[in-house]
Symmetry: C2
Subunit: 449 residues, 2 copies
């Protein structure tokens, strides 16, 4: 087994961009900055262009293709003016660009093969005075540039590569992982990738780090890293407990069994219909899937809506006694809400417990309701009336095909999509999904840490 | 609809023994008392014969055939001497009698067609000083004789008939209902059957009555009637909450819809195999039954053991995810532990949740245990490791046929009986039980209050 140091050294070499990559990037950045500054000249207001993000400091990976340019406008400018000027500059710099929307609209396009985001923001005095989260970014860039030595920048690259390999890199709401800035702060805190991994192996969440020792608020999140540029902000707010646990697991693993492979991004496995069929048979479970056209939403809106709706229908199934062993959603052009049920059918009757007999008015009402109804009972159990009445849905598929589906807590876009129509697959019918979701299904049926 | 008063008047007539019945009883009592007193003469100690029970006061029903004679011995006598003299007298008075055992041995036999119990006890100064519960009985007899007018005795007869009709008469551990003494105290407390029924309709348990206003202890029981002869005793201690609720239900019912039928004991319904088969089909449930030779125990020992074992195996089934919609035991020469399952089979896999990943030593141990095992996972869910591993028992019948059955909390005699051997019936196989348990099964599948 190679030593951890030998492994890390190999990884350092791999993740450090070659001179040619650096020159290509620098040339593209220079060209973009020049164009941006020229575009600013044409505006009736003062503004400042600023390169931010990993390619602005030495923490980008050879595979990264992102250039982020922020244009800081005076605080006096109206929001509407800022947006107008921002788009003006964006389309001037990136004539083939297109508008995107995060906190406010910005233009994204390409320059010499690099993906360029051109984002307008306000120049505020400090990060606590921001108007919108993008205003904070320049402060992050400044803080990291000021503190990160070239050696530490390399450590950030190595650590970033690791988080990508284990699938926890990215602070979008699909991944709910580690942002680049969070990685940088962790490396600054602990001093090296190795030190971060060793610390993470022994973390007992809640873990609170406060590099500037100025935190003013408490948080519930499992990892709290107080933003050195904003005492009220947790940089790790979006990180899920699951991804934190995942980092802990893989940190321990790579420390005990150091391999370069641990830093490499695997090609995803796939599964074919026959293999899936035998997996379902082996598990003896009853999968059901709701399949529908994916609503046209940005990822950060779509994924929380999918998670909420997945959980909502899961809770509906449980309320009707259809317990799930595991659930998941898969999304591409179509979306799948996937429920692996313990059993597909329930008996014809269900218990319905009434009030205690001594609560006279309620008890009499319950008894009168059921005494001549087509039920078993009413009878008395302990101190209560009980009836066994016909179950509304004996089959989970009947429940999901009924209007009762919409009693579930659903996010609005998902509710609308389901109302438009969906396909319901049950049991071995889900093997049809392997044409679109072979990677998702492979991961579902061969889950790892 | 007849008035309640008209109904009660009819019932009074029915339950009051005819003159010929009274004379037959009195003649048998006289004969038994004479024989007992003669037998006492032959003993080297002083003792006193005392008739107790409902036939000693005017609260017996025409259908009652029980004469209870207690023989009170001096407190100085040893327990062994008391038992010996008691059996001596018993076999002298009842030459064809046989020994039974309650608190101590006594003889039971017949005189002129009446069932006679001849029970030895100690003559103690007051009911609080008793050696054993039987010593208390003469105090009850004395108290009731002193307080009960002939009119109230008739009310006791009517109320007793009502509790028999609704199945809650008897303080044995099979029934867990109302003792004769309890009925007498309730009628004394409220003044008539009608008044008891009206009061019971509105009871909010816990209900506490203390006729002598001398209670010294608090009880958890739903109905507490402090014994007028013993401040530390609840006469209703054995009454179950279920039977109390049952009285409340039927009291309300008869007050709202007075009929003589409400006081009549129904011939039990029966069910045949075909009807049972269609009931099971209609319910869509999965019954299983363990059938074994009934252990040779007195009822007051057998029934608590059966209830405990029924519940123990029910809990075992639930632990293995076999939920029951209802359970029951039936007992005759053979005994049936009956479980009506929601579903007979579970999937091949079950979730097994490990420790949180951050609890390092436990987490590593869990991961190492399963990483190379034939399971799905380990994967991470929220902050924990989870595996999906093979379920030990996919079928409830496999569980009940395995040695794991004996992991259930079982009462000793039932455990021994099951170890000797049992028959396991599942699904429609239970229709075979209609030859022995047609009344029990009829009641189970057509339950009422």
């Amino acid at each position: 087994m190679p030593s951890l140091e030998a492994v890390l050294e190999q990884v350092r070499e791999r993740v450090t961009p070659r001179q040619a990559d650096i020159e290509r990037l620098e040339s593209a950045v220079e060209k973009t900055m020049e164009r941006t500054e020229a575009a600013i000249e044409d505006l009736p207001v003062e503004a400042e262009a600023l390169q931010v993000g990993s390619t602005a400091r030495e923490t980008w990976l050879a595979s990264d293709r992102d250039i982020d340019i922020f244009v800081r406008f005076p605080r006096e400018l109206s929001r509407a003016q800022l947006e107008e000027y921002g788009l003006d500059i964006g389309y001037t710099v990136l004539p083939d660009g297109r508008e995107e929307y995060a906190e406010h609209p910005y233009v994204t396009g390409t320059v010499d093969g690099f993906d360029v985001d051109l984002v307008p923001c306000y120049a505020v005095a400090n990060a606590a005075d921001i108007e919108s989260p993008v205003d904070r970014t320049p402060f992050h860039a400044e803080y990291v540039t000021e503190h990160l030595t070239p050696e530490l920048a390399t450590e950030v690259r190595v650590f970033k590569q690791f988080t990508k390999a284990i699938g926890v890199y990215g602070s979008n709401l699909r991944t709910r992982g580690f942002s680049g800035y969070l990685l940088e702060l962790l490396v600054l805190e602990y001093g090296s990738t190795r030190a971060v991994l060793e610390a993470a192996s022994d973390w007992h969440p809640q873990v609170v780090l406060d590099p500037n020792d100025h935190g003013e608020v408490t948080f519930d999140d499992p990892l709290v890293v107080i933003d050195p540029t904003d005492p009220q902000r947790n940089v790790a707010a979006v990180l899920s407990g699951e991804n934190l646990a995942r980092l802990q697991h893989h940190a321990r693993d790579v420390l005990q069994h150091p391999t370069v492979d641990a830093f490499m991004i695997d090609t995803p496995d796939t599964i074919d219909a026959d293999t899936l069929e035998s997996k379902i048979t082996a598990r003896g479970t009853s999968p059901v899937a709701l399949v529908f056209e994916t609503p046209d939403l940005v990822d950060d809106d779509l994924h929380p809506q999918l998670q909420k709706s997945l959980d909502g229908i899961g809770a509906l199934l449980e309320r009707h006694d259809f317990d799930t062993i595991r659930t998941a959603y898969f999304t591409d052009n179509r979306t799948v809400l996937f429920y692996e049920l313990e059993v597909p059918n329930r008996p014809a009757v269900e218990r319905h417990r009434g009030p205690p007999v001594h609560v006279r008015s309620h008890a009499e009402e319950f008894f009168d309701t059921y005494v001549d109804a087509d039920v078993f009972g009413p009878f008395i159990e302990h101190d209560r009336y009980v009836v066994e009445r016909d179950r509304e849905f004996r089959a989970a598929t009947a429940l999901l095909e009924s209007e009762t589906l919409f009693d579930a807590r659903l996010a609005p876009a998902i509710e609308a999509a389901l109302e438009t129509g969906f396909e319901l697959l049950a049991g071995q019918e889900i093997t049809a999904l392997t044409t679109e979701f072979d990677e998702d299904l492979a991961r579902y049926f061969d889950p790892g840490p």
